[in-house]
Subunit: 241 residues, 2 copies
């Protein structure tokens, strides 16, 4: 190391797959190439990060790639430790368990710290269930809100869904939420019981995977339709009043 100030590396935000579909379905070649050459990673889960790396034509043996794990609620000291390779001048990759890092999952605190340190942050194109579901829903994509999870307690949940429905009507805003896959059936039932008959509801199931299925109907129509198979399959719920 010379006395010349060490330059910071770039933080590369690398999306990973939503399903078992082949990588050429969901990651552009340039993103694959960037990801395959990185020597340092921060991952939500080191095991899924290694599964992702194995899909790439790696520039070195996988055991030579440094993978730090990002806890769900990291403190400042842990975040700085994760960014240490960046501060030492290495490019660093951030990957989540599925989809785009720092969207609907932890990681944004790490990105924020990289900005404060003055590092360059480079987002790469890849799969986002929110974007794929919204595109395919036929609901208004000019204004939308993603809420993450609804409350779990039935009364709170119904109240929250009604509030989002009112917001949707008032702002012409599509409402988007997710659920833990084993609770999808209960969520569908609550939506079908709680929302107004004319509200349009879209189910976007298993996006990019072999069980992908996207359907949009009014709540009234859903009440009469056969119960969709959602349990255990990642599903995005979208509605517009």
């Amino acid at each position: 190391m010379t006395e010349k100030q060490q330059e910071l590396g770039t933080l590369h935000l690398i999306p990973v797959g939503l399903s078992e579909a082949g990588i050429d379905n969901w990651l552009p070649a340039a993103a694959q190439q960037q990801a395959s050459g990185l020597t340092h990673y921060v991952a939500e889960n080191a095991k899924t990060a290694r599964a992702f790396l194995k899909l790439l034509a790696l520039a070195r043996p996988i055991q030579d790639i440094d993978i730090q794990t990002l806890p769900a609620k990291p403190d400042q000291a842990r975040l700085e430790q994760c960014l240490a390779p960046l501060f030492a001048g290495h490019d660093l990759g951030l990957v989540s368990e599925a989809g785009c890092p720092a969207v609907a999952d932890p990681g944004s605190a790490l990105v924020a710290l990289a900005h404060r340190a003055g590092a360059r942050v480079h987002p790469w194109v890849g799969p986002s269930s929110i974007m794929l579901g919204l595109m395919a829903s036929g609901l208004d994509g000019q204004r939308f809100a993603f809420h993450g999870y609804a409350p779990v307690k039935p009364a709170d949940r119904a109240r929250q869904l009604k509030q989002w429905e009112q917001l949707s009507a008032r702002l012409s805003q599509t409402q988007i939420l997710i659920e833990t896959p084993y609770r999808n059936d209960a969520m569908f039932e609550t939506l079908a019981q709680t929302l107004a008959p004319q509200t349009r509801l879209c189910l976007a199931r298993a996006l990019t995977g072999p069980e992908q299925w996207v359907a949009t109907r009014t709540v009234q129509q859903w009440r009469k339709a056969p119960t969709p198979k959602l349990s255990g399959l990642p599903t995005l719920f979208l509605f517009q009043a």
Copy 2:
């Protein structure tokens, strides 16, 4: 045509580039292959659709590809006309001027009609400035709202921005908006003057292009920083109170 009922084609939602960057930077190989084989397209703008098609290894001469133009506010008859190839059993591609079709641009009415007709709708992975900007911002990606454009009149605009800022504080929700590129400087100035000093503001400029630049600072810091060069360059504005 036999008496057997003609099957419907699939509506493929094909994202297009946000910049002049090479297509391997922003479109996965499988999406390129799907797009290169389609015989029928609906486009927001036929000229930019042809420019996109020229980036692909097309299966046939470009003049043999049928491209229908989707008006900004199409009526039912025009939408049905656009979907005619789908009803006749052909797969059909939908492309917008930039980014993901039916998100922050017209197209959702066409997708909705395809759903009502019972056609399969397949969204492909590609660039979305909203998703790239959100990932790279370091702001909260667990809850966010995309609003499209703010009002143009200064008083309305300031009032609306303050409302979104209150919403952001109340719901821990990142707020996202766009502006017509030649008005970006005015939008930045209004944001810097209107929002609270501690609100974090991210500018995500020219995503995927050579002038890409993403920076996140508090409003207080932006007020003291050199004025960013935004005019004429597509920019996403994101903030979190």
